[in-house]
Subunit: 189 residues, 2 copies
């Protein structure tokens, strides 16, 4: 049983995580302060370190939640078995989350093999590729199209479409590009 | 006619640009000093600001040269008219250039619309998409595959494959992924 106190603590945690994900994406990780997070979330400044320790602890918790969201999305898609339509829809939804912009903001730090962020990125990329590969293994692929290599290309298209759109939102329509990707894959299989 | 002095100056400039592109990609822009560039290039430290003014001037010159290299590659591919094989080969070559890693390192700054790097990124993305779109317009595309949207997806795949590989070089084979992309496009058209 969850006590009232535990429930409130869990709610505060969620409010802080949502506010932090938005702020990290908007202002950057370094520029965001505990005071900003307190203001946005409506939770007192003092309770943020109580929940997450340091700012790095907060960042890791934000990323951890994103990993869970991606995994959850992957599992749901699998049970519905609506195939590639669903996968591309999922990519389209991911694009609109503020956390997705955060992944670009943190990319440079994620490339440092020693950084704590590196492992989280590996998990997320692995989850996306794995999901895509498992879907591809259910369709009859020609022998010159190995599922694992194609999964890297498809997940890559999702990543690269997102970044082109962030850089030039008035020139790039990410949903039309994802639709073209879906048509391309359907036509080839 | 080019004088001996002009030729030497041009050679020094090239040596500095090559060294700077490598160092920015390896150590990051902020961590790289004129002393590092001097040591790597063999050109005296004092002549670097003479050529490029500030460190930002040096960075912009490195990016400008990359834009030229991409444009040159695009033009050459166009004249050969070897189509998509050639395009994917070009993407494969781009992946191996140290400058390409630099583009990831600078991505966050490039996303700031006011930054001088932003414009260079737009130019490079536009050149890649334009090249891809022009090639696609030469093949008979089904009406549900508009060339401009497909170009965003294909260039996106190139960008995203590169980043997955940088993050996990032991799990991702970029050349196999590009080959899968090539097979996918050929099969669909």
């Amino acid at each position: 049983m969850t006590t009232r106190r535990e429930q409130t603590s869990q709610e505060s945690r969620e409010l802080i995580l949502t506010a932090a994900a938005e702020l990290f994406a908007e202002k950057g990780y370094r520029q965001t302060t505990f005071a900003d997070v307190a203001e946005r979330s409506g939770i007192s400044r003092g309770s943020i370190p109580w929940h997450f320790g340091s700012k790095e602890g907060l960042l890791l918790a934000v990323l951890e939640r994103s990993v869970q969201l991606v995994r959850l999305g992957v599992t749901e898609a699998e049970s519905v078995e609506a195939g590639f339509e669903r996968l591309v829809e999922g990519l389209g939804t991911l694009l609109t989350l503020p956390t997705t912009r955060l992944f670009v903001t943190l990319l440079v730090e994620a490339l440092e093999p020693g950084s704590p962020i590196h492992g989280r990125y590996l998990e997320i990329h692995d989850a996306l590729r794995e999901h895509c590969r498992r879907w591809l293994e259910r369709v009859p692929l020609p022998p010159e199209l190995p599922a694992d290599a194609l999964a890297v290309a498809i997940v890559g298209a999702g990543i690269g479409i997102h970044q082109q759109w962030l850089l030039a939102p008035d020139r790039v329509d990410p949903h039309r590009a994802l639709a073209a990707l879906r048509t391309l894959v359907s036509a080839a299989l």
